[in-house]
């Protein structure tokens, strides 16, 4: 189980202080697909970075299967596979070499790395470019490679930040199929997206985050009931008040009542 307990995250100090998350609490059950929805700058990426131990909360506590993300960060990272929209790959190496590198870092035996790589090549349809240098890859190829790396150590918890961002419809479908197969295998998934149809198709529960706060949370049906809207897109706009924040600029730190 993943637990966010009154988590706040503040970047900078003084006049430059930005409160990206404000006293956020929610839980994600094992085997569940949880969707984090919100406009740009709402706090989605910060939440996922905190969960993946890349960032430390200013206040509050996050636990993954009972492990504290600050005090036991390496153990937490063993259990998670993380993909973020701002990740990139080293250009001189091939996906094959990167799989071997990250496999070795995860202490997976050489033969097992090959077996898992072969499975991922099939699932992600990577055979055409697997041995080519990353610098020759398209956005979709890079995204598939990043997903492969995130899944190589067979983590229980998968955290994907905007997994279909910038992908064409074919690659987007491959990614969605992967997410579905992970769900079938009982993995816990947390995905952030601003594509409502993806959330509607995949997620067991959804949380809408806005200005660093979770505004509504629940199953799709619960969200519709709480907001009185017929679908997720309408529910989303009713929660955020129809106003989208400037891209990538979380609100200034003024604690709301």
């Amino acid at each position: 189980m993943i637990l966010f307990n009154e988590v706040s995250k503040v970047f900078g100090t003084g006049k430059k202080e930005v409160r990206a998350l404000d006293n956020v609490s929610f839980a994600v059950q094992s085997g569940e697909i949880f969707g984090l929805l919100g406009p740009n700058g709402a706090g989605k990426t910060t939440s996922l970075r905190l969960l993946s131990t890349l960032l430390k909360p200013t206040n509050g506590r996050i636990s993954v299967a009972g492990l504290d993300t600050v005090k036991e960060s390496p153990k937490v990272r063993e259990r998670i596979g993380f993909l973020s929209s701002d990740m990139n790959l080293s250009g001189s190496l091939s996906a094959q070499e990167l799989f071997h590198f990250f496999g070795a870092l995860n202490h997976i035996e050489e033969r097992e790395i090959v077996n898992r790589s072969n499975r991922l090549i099939d699932q992600l349809k990577m055979e055409d470019f697997f041995q080519r240098k990353v610098e020759t890859y398209s956005t979709g190829m890079k995204q598939k490679t990043l997903i492969g790396i995130a899944l190589l150590h067979d983590p229980d918890i998968i955290i994907f930040d905007e997994p279909t961002n910038g992908l064409d419809i074919i690659t987007g479908r491959v990614v969605l199929d992967i997410l579905k197969s992970l769900k079938q295998r009982g993995k816990t998934l947390i995905i952030s997206t601003h594509i409502m149809s993806i959330a509607e198709k995949l997620c067991d529960r959804v949380g809408i985050i806005h200005k660093g706060e979770i505004r509504v949370i629940g199953t799709l049906q619960e969200i519709y009931t709480q907001t009185g809207q017929p679908d997720l897109e309408e529910a989303f706009f009713s929660v955020i008040g129809g106003v989208i924040e400037d891209e990538g600029h979380p609100h200034r730190s003024k604690k709301r009542a």
Partner: protein, 396 residues
């Protein structure tokens, strides 16, 4: 340790595929040094030959005196027309190489200088030919004067050998190898420090600030590997590249150097296995220290450009000490200087190459100081790798 080696291997695999960086690190110094020294050697030879064959143009108001001065030497001259007022401009314009204005005259018949004779020799140091002929002329006039004095002494029935007294015998106890070693010993630390830094700049900032800039670091940080292992993997990688680059540079430097100073090769008889091993240890400690410095700067900086601007002052100061190190005994290498990390290595290396006796205390202090400084910086680097304020500090 296994994770550190995995990170190191990945970095090496990465750089081995980057032919351009490899060429800059290992190919350029080889080509540069061998080419520079060979070109220098050829230019020097050609220049010397040209100076020997040159017919120097001399303007003088006493042609017979000037011609008599050069009569017995191999240097060929041609007297040309001129005026005393235009000497400075004519020399600068290279209309002639030397001007000699004689006041008073040689006593004709006896070839003796008169007491009040004065010779003004004008040359232009911006011209090699002018400098050469001025020095040859001075030597020739002095020889002429000595000959005359010997005749005078002889006529007065005095011993001409008086001119040679007191006999001054200057004996340099340094062997040919040691003399070459003094030149080489001044240059070696300078060259090494330059190349340890150069290698670090290109690969070190690429693997730290460059990874931040390209956003390739996040995927590594999100992995289970300890941040300290990432930091140490990168430091070891940098250290290895530094040592390789420095070694190749020194070998290339030696090849080039020996092409203009043939005694360079025999200079190695100065080295015992012990002193060579100590020299290598000092280079190693400097490589580790520079790798740690560059890693800390690289993690702190938001971009490669910013990292380079932070590192340049340290580089310049160290090079400055490297240049000072070329001068004999500017600093006492056994004094306070041996407690300054990085700089102490420059002077200890110089001592190891130029001094016949090894000062083990200074070598030990240098090693300990540099390794302790490197360990502290490496510790700082691992702390910075664990701190989101630095690893996610980018311009984006």
């Amino acid at each position: 340790m296994k994770d550190i080696l995995t990170v190191l291997k990945k970095e090496l695999r990465n750089v081995l595929k980057d032919r351009r960086t490899l060429f800059m690190l290992f190919g350029v110094p080889v080509i540069m040094f061998i080419l520079i020294f060979n070109v220098m050697g050829e230019v020097m030879k050609t220049q010397e030959k040209k100076l020997e064959e040159t017919v120097y143009k001399v303007y003088t108001n006493d042609v017979s005196f000037v011609e008599s001065a050069f009569l017995n030497g191999p240097t060929k001259i041609e007297c040309v027309e001129g005026t005393p007022d235009a000497i400075e401009n004519d020399l600068r314009d290279k209309r002639y190489d030397l001007a000699v204005l004689v006041k008073g005259q040689i006593e004709r018949g006896s070839d003796l200088f008169l007491d009040d004779m004065e010779i003004n020799v004008y040359s232009f140091s911006g011209s090699m030919a002018s400098e050469r002929i001025a020095s040859v002329f001075s030597f020739a006039v002095n020889t002429l004067r000595d000959q005359q004095l010997r005749l005078l002494l002889s006529d007065a029935q005095l011993d001409a050998g008086l001119l040679d007294k007191p006999r001054i015998n200057t004996i340099n106890v340094a062997t040919e190898q040691e003399q070459t070693g003094a030149v080489f010993g001044g240059l070696l630390p300078y060259m090494l420090v330059i190349y340890l830094f150069t290698a670090s700049f290109s690969v070190g900032f690429d693997t730290t600030a460059g990874e931040k800039e390209r956003q390739t670091l996040t995927i590594l940080l999100a992995n289970r590997v300890a941040r300290s292992s990432i930091a140490w993997g990168k430091i070891l990688y940098l250290m290895l590249m530094n040592v390789l680059s420095a070694t190749i540079s020194v070998v290339a430097f030696l090849f080039g150097f020996s092409s203009i100073i043939p005694q360079t090769g025999s200079m190695f008889t100065m080295f015992t296995p012990g002193s060579a091993a100590l020299l290598f240890l000092i280079v190693l400690s400097l490589a580790v220290l520079i790798a740690a410095i560059i890693t800390v700067i690289g993690i702190f900086a938001r971009s490669v450009k910013e990292a380079t601007s932070y590192a340049l002052p340290i580089y310049v100061v160290t090079i400055l000490f490297g240049i000072l190190g070329m001068q004999p005994e500017v600093f006492d290498s056994q004094g306070f200087i041996r407690f300054i990390p990085l700089v102490n290595g420059v002077f200890t290396m110089k001592d190891l190459v130029t001094q016949p006796r090894i000062d083990f205390v200074t070598v030990a202090i240098t090693l300990v100081i540099n390794l302790v400084a490197a360990a502290l910086l490496a510790f700082l680097a691992t702390k910075m790798f664990n701190d989101e304020r630095y690893v996610f500090r980018t311009k984006n």
